[in-house]
């Protein structure tokens, strides 16, 4: 099952540049939360801070507190352990090109020393089924490489890979921006189903997508969280003029 994430007074810097300012947000378990805002507003930085992915960039640092369930993300927990519990899917599908479909999904588990063949088979099958890809690839699991799939299939493969290590939270950074409408529809349908078992945080530039898949939406502007509320409220009667101006296309 998914867990909630409680963010308290989160600041983030890259060198001397502060990119997030005092972000506090309660992300509900087993719901989808969308993060929207213009380019450079800090939305990707924010989700990367949730699983400490920002640490891969030199000179990045944070202050504040992020709690995932009973786990303190920044205090006393190894980054690897955090990332096992908080999976991530990126804008551009990034399957391991030389690996088969099967090995792509199993990669995370094998990396963690998991080699029980029968259990691996089960997990790969289950992950591909949950990602709505199983029927399309089941006959070529070991024959075809991940790179041979279409863009939409590759993205679902990446989701399967993220799910195989059984995370509780799935972060998605513009997962559909490189996909056609049909593949986008499949991913959105998938997000809807995944909410039953995972907590989803999705960064998107597509406001229609945010309104379709997310129960909660946060609007970021210049590194600050301007408004966070139920999605229907944000897109029909936002409280802040800046939110309204952004979603109605009057700036950004």
């Amino acid at each position: 099952m998914g867990v909630g994430i409680n963010v308290e007074h989160l600041d983030a810097w890259f060198g001397k540049t502060q990119s997030l300012h005092d972000i506090s947000m309660m992300i509900q378990a087993n719901h989808a939360t969308a993060i929207i805002g213009p380019s450079g507003c800090g939305k990707s930085t924010f989700v990367r801070c949730l699983n400490r992915m920002h640490e891969t960039i030199p000179e990045a640092r944070v202050s504040g507190r992020v709690r995932m369930g009973d786990l303190d993300v920044y205090n006393g927990t190894a980054a690897v352990q955090i990332r096992r519990r908080i999976g991530m899917v990126f804008q551009k599908p990034n399957p391991f090109p030389t690996m088969s479909i099967y090995d792509n999904v199993a990669a995370g588990l094998k990396l963690n020393g998991f080699h029980d063949r029968r259990r691996l088979d089960e997990i790969v099958e289950r992950s591909l089924k949950v990602s709505a890809l199983w029927d399309e690839v089941k006959d070529n699991l070991r024959k075809k490489s991940g790179a041979s799939l279409s863009g939409g299939q590759q993205q679902r493969l990446c989701i399967a890979r993220a799910l195989a290590v059984e995370p509780q939270v799935l972060l998605m950074d513009e997962p559909c921006s490189a996909l056609d409408p049909i593949s986008t529809g499949k991913i959105e349908e998938l997000i809807f189903q995944l909410k039953e078992n995972f907590t989803i945080v999705i960064v998107t530039h597509n406001m229609q997508q945010a309104s379709r898949v997310a129960e909660f939406t946060g609007f970021f502007l210049m590194g600050r969280l301007v408004e966070f509320d139920k999605t229907e409220k944000i897109f029909t009667t936002p409280s802040d003029k800046r939110t309204e101006d952004y979603i109605t296309g009057r700036f950004g």
Binding site: M207, Q208, F235, T236, T237, E244, I247, T248, G249, R250
Partner: protein, 232 residues
């Protein structure tokens, strides 16, 4: 700034105002036709109906296009939804004007009767409601719309008074029953126009504040403060 979308919204607003002008004119003409027993004005009202119907279709089509092509959000979405509903109410205002004109055409065939009912006063109140409802739309001001809602009870009372007075008249003077029935129906038509003006005012409040005040819900929460809708 989405220039083409803004132009579409401006176009929608302009067309609705033109439609509002036609509906308002139809009611005024029908009432004047009643006061003056003027068949020419009745015909003008009947002829004007097709213009109103055509305007209704054009506005719906443009609103539909904007919804489908521009995916409006927040205040823009509320504006377009409000316009489609106001459009429908204005078309019905036009229908009520036609009903009044048809009653007048019937009345003109009958001997003139001196009925103890103040239709001019009621017509004045109803016209003011329509005018103010449209002004609240033009200005984007919820407090103007709120004033229209408060006027509706006054018109309802006028309708009730007209009903009681005219029933008494029919009992006392059966020879003017047909004229009294026509006057009664006109009072009812005017009251319906007032209801449509009320609906328009409610839609303006929804557009400006995002508040649903239909059927008296949330009216008590509407304070004096209002905010002007910008960007249109």
């Amino acid at each position: 700034m989405r220039t083409r979308f803004q132009q579409g919204l401006d176009d929608l607003r302009t067309r609705l105002l033109r439609m509002g002008g036609l509906a308002e004119q139809a009611v005024d003409r029908a009432c004047q036709a009643y006061f003056d027993r003027d068949l020419n004005r009745c015909h003008l009202v009947l002829e004007g109906e097709s213009q109103i119907n055509e305007a209704e279709r054009d506005i719906d089509e443009l609103a539909f296009d904007l919804l489908a092509m521009q995916q409006p959000m927040a205040v823009d979405l509320r504006f377009i939804l409000a316009v489609t509903k106001i459009n429908s109410d204005l078309e019905r205002v036009g229908d009520q004007a036609v009903n009044i004109a048809e009653r007048v055409m019937d009345l003109v065939e009958l001997p003139k009767a001196d009925l103890p009912v103040d239709i001019p006063r009621m017509a004045g109140a109803v016209s003011a409601m329509v005018r103010r409802a449209l002004e609240s739309f033009i200005e984007g001001k919820a407090e103007l719309a709120q004033a229209v809602l408060e006027m509706d009870n006054v018109v309802d009372r006028m309708r009730d008074e007209a009903f009681m007075t005219l029933v008494k008249t029919m009992n006392a003077h059966p020879d003017v029953t047909r004229q009294a029935v026509d006057a009664l129906l006109i009072a009812r038509n005017l009251e319906r126009v007032a209801d449509h003006a009320t609906n328009i005012a409610e839609d303006v409040i929804f557009w400006v504040r995002g508040a649903d005040v239909r059927h008296n819900v949330q009216q008590e929460n509407l304070g004096q403060e209002t905010r002007r809708v910008t960007g249109l």
